[in-house]
């Protein structure tokens, strides 16, 4: 069984009538995702182009359709509130695609997630895909194939690159997750490694980090302290990034001499993780790691 997204997932799209929301709802349906409803405040009672019912609130959508997960395509100024609404409606999984949410808005969201029933992915992320089952997000489905390797990444297109390399070598994926490029995110590497650890389908994990923060170092410690024995292959983007400059993602910044790629690569190597020197060898490195088990 995959993690986060499986045959039981019934998806609600928050912001379904927006340009992005409408486009990706269609894409998700075409991939086979069980999308059951949309939410746009003020448009309750209407249906979208795919015939999906639209509701004013997440709770109403969930009550009427049995939706248990949501994806958010809401403008950044309102996105944190959309997440809080999804948590209040007890969604099991909330994937927030929206980019550009103020950090101060995310602080109370993190607090609301604590002790709730909701697992949040993102914001500012491509989403979650369980190949062959469904996708929640904006990634191209066709580059994936069902299989046994999990992918967790702070990036978008770089994740596609890694997945493409795996698929080219015949290595399928269990569940691929873009956790997002912001300083505050719903789930970090450790949260998801815990799920992969208990997932029978997942036999190895690709971990793609980048400069900024210390999530990769913390993941390295967790892996060794918790006896995570499935092979892990890592790549850290931003070896050539200058300090003090935000490299696109709000979270990708080396500040105060902390969060460099070199530090992260050293921390991962120190616990025996295969660290790729270049992004071109991610697939190859995983192939070797799986063969060496």
């Amino acid at each position: 069984m995959s993690i986060l997204l499986n045959e039981d997932t019934r998806l609600i799209v928050q912001g379904i009538t927006g340009k992005e929301g409408a486009f990706h709802t269609r894409q998700m349906l075409e991939y086979g995702t069980k999308v059951v409803a949309g939410v746009t405040p003020g448009k309750g009672g209407q249906t979208d182009d795919n015939g999906l019912p639209i509701f004013d609130t997440v709770q109403a959508a969930a009550d009427a359709t049995g939706g248990n997960s949501s994806v958010i395509f809401v403008p950044p100024a309102f996105a944190a509130d959309a997440v809080l609404e999804a948590i209040a409606a007890r969604m099991k999984l909330v994937v927030c695609i929206s980019e550009g949410i103020p950090t101060a808005d995310m602080v109370p969201v993190k607090l609301a997630l604590n002790g709730s029933e909701t697992r949040m992915i993102g914001p500012n992320c491509p989403g979650v895909i369980t190949p062959g089952v469904g996708k929640i997000g904006i990634m191209p489905g066709f580059i994936h194939r069902p299989g046994h390797v999990g992918v967790i990444s702070r990036s978008g297109t770089l994740t596609y690159e890694a997945v493409h390399q795996l698929t080219e070598r015949g290595i399928g994926q269990s569940t691929c997750i873009g956790i997002g490029g912001d300083p505050i995110i719903g789930s970090n590497f450790i949260d998801l490694l815990k799920l992969y650890k208990d997932d029978d389908q997942t036999e190895g994990v690709v971990l793609i980090g980048e400069i900024g923060g210390s999530a990769e170092e913390e993941a390295a410690n967790w892996i060794v302290e918790n006896n995570f024995t499935k092979p892990v292959v890592a790549f850290i983007a931003g070896q050539t990034a200058p300090p003090g400059r935000r490299m696109g993602h709000a979270g990708a910044i080396i500040s105060g001499g902390k969060g460099t790629a070199a530090d992260k690569m050293a921390a991962l190597k120190a616990v025996g993780i295969a660290v790729c020197e270049t992004p071109a060898v991610i697939g190859e490195t995983m192939e070797k790691a799986l063969a060496a088990r």
Partner: protein
């Protein structure tokens, strides 16, 4: 977004964080005239640029009123080089003129996001005036922190705890608490991503004064602070980067000679990394985002080529929702319109990549088509060194 020290101090003053008496000046005349009104015998003239280490770089002068003119003349128009400006330095166009303080102790105060707890942290240290990064790595126990509960404010007891941890006594504690509470309000009110006061001083008359101010704002929250946006000093930013932001392109100029145009920030960084790995030096970071059409590609080319160091360009696009054939058409159109006189290596992968490759091969324009990421990096580095 960053602002100048004098702008930060104006926000401090308005919020009740004590700062020295002073004023910003854009000319020598303004300096001299304003300094007379300060009515003090010791004056500090400080260069205003968006970089730290100004004191060490010679950008701060402490003078008598008679020597203000001389100090202002020396500083205005100088190119100030500090450990944060890079070797090319920054042109000094603004000054801050202040009354000098009678310093008894130099402390540090700051507020940042603690990413591992997802809470804001208020930090103080007795090691003011030092490079705080150095203090943090060598003697982390000398940085005292209090975390702000989400959705709430810094509590008075927390501010008091911080004040006592700095060894403050008597009336100093009262002043420090007031200062810390006010500082948190500035941070919260303006959606700051960082506030630092280094040094925060205790004077011989027991006052607490912010001798410096460093404030960074959360770019994602600027939409709700039009007043802060007005403080932006475009002359402190790279012209090409301002130009790029106008077209929603994310560009950062670097020192190398291999230009690159990529979709997605992570892939853009990874592309820079593999260029370096293959023996080249990236000239820039450029994320063209989700829409890589002829217009974006053309703007991207213009910005990359405005950097005269660029000897070759790599276009690396992983088409997901963006179709590669559209991107290829964009590249062909842009190259047809513009004079691109350096070799261009193109690597397109993902949706409709095969058609895209054929379009590039069949075009009369000269592209070097790469089959994968490594091949692309090798080819562009070779091309940048004059090889084929």
């Amino acid at each position: 977004m960053k602002i100048h020290e004098y702008q930060g101090k104006a926000l401090f003053r308005a919020a009740g964080v004590p700062v020295p008496k002073g004023f910003p000046a854009f000319s020598v005349k303004e300096c001299v005239e304003g300094a007379a009104k300060l009515q003090t015998n010791k004056i500090v003239v400080k260069a205003q640029i968006h970089a730290g280490g100004r004191g060490k770089g010679g950008g701060v002068k402490i003078v008598s009123p008679a020597n203000v003119q001389e100090a202002a003349e020396a500083l205005l128009g100088m190119t100030l080089v500090t450990h944060q400006t890079g070797p090319e330095g920054k042109l000094v166009q603004r000054l801050l003129v202040e009354e000098a303080s009678d310093i008894a102790r130099e402390l540090y105060a700051g507020i940042v996001l603690d990413r591992s707890t997802s809470q804001f942290a208020f930090m103080v240290s007795t090691e003011g005036g030092m490079e705080i990064e150095k203090v943090a790595s060598e003697t982390p126990e000398k940085i005292i922190k209090e975390w702000i509960t989400p959705g709430q404010d810094l509590k008075v007891y927390q501010a008091r705890k911080l004040a006592f941890s700095l060894g403050l006594t008597g009336v100093q504690v009262k002043y420090a608490v007031k200062t810390f509470m006010a500082l948190w309000q500035v941070f919260k009110q303006y959606d700051c991503s960082l506030i630092e006061i280094n040094p925060l001083v205790v004077t011989r008359s027991d006052e607490i004064i912010a001798l410096d101010s460093k404030i960074n704002f959360d770019d994602n929250a600027l939409f709700r602070h039009p007043d802060i946006l007005e403080l932006r000093d475009l002359s402190e930013e790279e012209t090409s980067e301002i130009e790029a932001s106008r077209y929603h392109l994310n560009y950062i100029k670097l020192e190398g000679d291999v230009g690159c145009m990529v979709n997605g920030a992570g892939l853009a960084m990874a592309t820079m990394d593999i260029i370096k790995h293959c023996g080249g030096e990236p000239a820039n970071f450029l994320d063209v985002g989700g829409v890589a059409n002829a217009e974006t590609v053309a703007h991207g080319f213009n910005i990359i080529l405005s950097d005269k160091n660029v000897k070759a360009i790599l276009i690396n696009i992983f088409g997901g929702i963006v179709r590669c054939d559209r991107v290829a058409q964009g590249v062909i159109d842009a190259m047809g319109q513009l004079k691109v006189n350096v070799p261009v290596v193109v690597r397109l992968e993902g949706t409709n990549a095969v058609q895209a490759g054929e379009m590039l091969e069949n075009s009369p324009l000269e592209f070097i088509v790469a089959k994968n990421l490594e091949d692309a990096a090798e080819k562009v580095v070779l091309a940048s060194k004059g090889g084929k």
